[in-house]
Amino acid sequence: RAAAELLAHLERLALVDFRDAEGVERLQKAIQFADRLQEVNTDGVEPMDSVLEDRCLYLREDNVTEGNCTKELLKNAREKVEEYFVAPPGNIPLPKLDEQETFLQGS
């Protein structure tokens, strides 16, 4: 039941590709499954957003204990320039909306 526009928007935001009609259908089923949560009456109940909610948040002392591992970190980089990581300029533009739609409909 998700509108094609909303889907396309979500795809862009999450950089997830739903690929084809089957993928979209699976997504719809997943949403329906999750919707069953609405059956529970939660009036007056504080939402829990972490199982850690009763734990104490540990506070660290302000000392320098790590860093200085430039070489190690740069080992992960495919490209580097003088100890800088290299990234493409800005964000890679996604294909235009209509191009994406045809892709979805086409498969």
């Binding site: 928007h9 862009r12 935001l13 999450a14 950089l15 957003d49 972490s50 850690l52 909610e53 009763d54 734990r55 104490c56 948040l57 540990y58 506070l59 660290r60 002392e61 302000d62 000392n63 320098v64 204990t65 790590e66 860093g67 200085n68 591992c69 430039t70 970190l73 740069l74 992960n76 320039v81 003088e82 100890e83 800088y84 990581f85 290299v86 990234a87 493409p88 300029p89 800005g90 964000n91 533009p93 996604l94």
Partner: protein
């Protein structure tokens, strides 16, 4: 760029609402003001300020916080967002935020939460920033700041801006754009550094107010030590939200202005944007809810590159961090180690004097005017100390000393772009000079000449310069009397005018005596002598 319209808007409600000044259209000449009986505009300015927390290590990791270090040398595995790493909150950052919240009269939330704000950018390796969107650490505060009316230092007015909230969040890394090779170089040294975001409500109405509010915040942060707040080093970043509307109508569409690197540019950017919006609306256009960058070279704002349409940050609670609980004297837990407890009351008791308190103390202790205390604190690091040192070493009253500090010393420093610490004239030398003046061994005019010599920093003492240039006041009364007599004898007309009742002409005679003595006569004494002679 069009001329800036009315300045000095005052008060929570603008004293003088903006009206279209002489605007220059794209083509054609100037349009006279008030041509179409235009309704006044009310500009609305809100600010979002990011202050880098002054701490040894980062907000959630133990890597060092330092400006200018070899690229990617101050980066831990967590900062680089490598899998398997977790955030651990830095106690010092919490204390800094609490101090700042207290200094800004906020309510400190004893329970605050952390969230993730998602967006994609190369300098944000995790793909999200840990921030406090739902329940920040401090809310509902206020900041008082002062402005001079009409650019004169004679009258100051106090304003207040409400602080919506203060939240703890991570800084991102730095991107260096290499357009030639079409790539971005990323340095993560800054990624994860603790920030306090201070959100100011749209209670300001022009660039001057915005700059004054930020300046006061800067002074407060520096006094607290929670942030060094140096804009040039990126420790204090300001984004302005600007809109205009007619009185009585709802607020207009606002734009966000970024890339402001100094207080001066902040005032310029805000005023430009206000003017741009007024012109756009008066020409029948609309304002887009967009982000614009301030171009300091051109002195205008330009639309920033479109960020993939509307941003959806998909806020979600940070699952790896439990709520942050703060305590006060009443709620201190019994069996928890001190190191794990942040006590709001304990911090409150130890807050240092805020700038407003320091200024009041200066006024009370030294009898100087409030405006002077502002200039002392506002303008220069170390100027207050310099002033106090001079006062200690001279018999001259502080109220007179302050003039020499603010008018003479400060203007020299500015002319030569020097800081107080770099001044070739030390507080000792200046005090020495002022003592000569106080003891009436030289005149004020001579003192200025000596100061100019001292400025050259050639190591001479004031007394040596006075002797060298023969600037001592003539102490011999007889000699002075003789000179006075000569002047009187040579100016019969003036003498007659004075005797006829025109006292002002006396000043001319005093001036002539001064000239004869090459400025080495005490004008008060000369006046007395002349008056005595003329009444004989």
């Amino acid at each position: 760029m069009a001329a800036v319209a009315a300045r000095g808007c005052g008060g929570a409600v603008c004293r003088r609402a903006w009206q279209r000044g002489v605007a220059r259209k794209a083509r054609g000449g100037a349009v006279p003001a008030g041509k179409s009986g235009l309704a006044p505009w009310v500009p609305v300015v809100g600010l979002e300020i990011h202050a880098q927390i002054s701490s040894n290590s980062k907000l959630f990791s133990g890597s060092q916080v330092q400006f200018a270090a070899p690229p990617n040398s101050l980066v831990s595995f967590f900062d680089a967002s490598l899998p398997g790493t977790l955030p651990v909150l830095n106690r010092r950052c919490v204390e800094a935020a609490v101090m700042t919240g207290l200094a800004l009269n906020c309510r400190i939330n004893k329970k605050s939460l952390f969230d993730r704000k998602h967006y994609f950018y190369a300098d944000l390796p995790a793909g999200y920033q840990i921030t406090q969107q739902r329940v920040p650490i401090a809310v509902n505060g206020s900041l008082s700041y002062s402005l001079c009316i009409d650019n004169k230092m004679s009258q100051m007015v106090t304003k207040t801006v409400r602080i919506k909230q203060i939240q703890l969040e991570q800084d991102s890394g730095k991107s260096l754009h290499d357009d030639i090779r079409s790539q971005t170089l990323v340095d993560l040294n800054r990624a994860g550094v603790g920030l306090m975001e201070v959100v100011m409500e749209p209670d300001m109405c022009c660039g001057e107010e915005a700059a004054a509010a930020v300046r006061e915040l800067q002074l407060i942060l520096q006094a607290l030590g929670s942030s060094q707040a140096v804009m040039a080093e990126g420790q204090l970043r300001v984004d302005a939200n600007v809109s205009v509307h007619h009185p009585g109508e709802p607020y207009g569409v606002r734009t966000e202005v970024k890339n402001i690197n100094s207080l001066r540019f902040l005032a310029k950017a805000v005023d430009y944007e206000i003017q741009r919006q007024i012109e756009e609306l008066e020409n029948g256009g609309t304002i887009l809810n967009e982000t614009r960058a301030f171009d300091s070279k051109l002195g205008c704002t330009v639309p920033m590159r479109d960020k993939e349409g509307k941003q959806d940050y998909r806020f979600m609670p940070e699952p790896n961090l439990p709520p942050l609980i703060l305590y006060d004297a009443k709620s201190l837990p019994a069996n928890v180690s001190h190191q794990q407890v942040v006590n709001i009351d304990w911090i409150h008791e130890r807050l240092p004097d805020l700038p407003s308190v320091k200024r009041a103390k200066l006024v009370e202790q030294y009898g100087i005017l409030p405006e002077h205390s502002f200039t002392l604190l506002q303008n220069e690091d170390g100027l207050t100390e310099f002033f106090e040192n001079v006062v200690k070493q001279t018999q001259m009253k502080p109220r007179k000393v302050i003039g020499w500090i603010l008018n003479d010393l400060l203007s020299y420093l500015k002319q030569h772009s020097l800081t107080v610490k770099e001044s070739p004239v030390s507080s000792f030398l200046l005090a020495d000079l002022l003592n000569l003046l106080e003891k009436k061994e030289i005149s004020a005019a001579a003192a200025k000449q000596v100061l100019a010599e001292l400025w050259k920093g050639e190591g001479k003492t004031p007394l040596e310069i006075v002797k060298e240039k023969k600037l001592e006041l003539i102490q011999d009364q007889k000699e002075l009397e003789q000179i006075c007599q000569v002047v009187i004898d040579g100016h019969e007309n003036e003498v007659m005018a004075i005797k006829a009742g025109n006292r002002k002409v006396l000043n001319k005679l005093i001036g002539l005596v001064q000239r004869e003595t090459h400025g080495r006569s005490n004008p008060v004494l000369v006046k007395q002598l002349l008056e005595k002679k003329l009444s004989e």
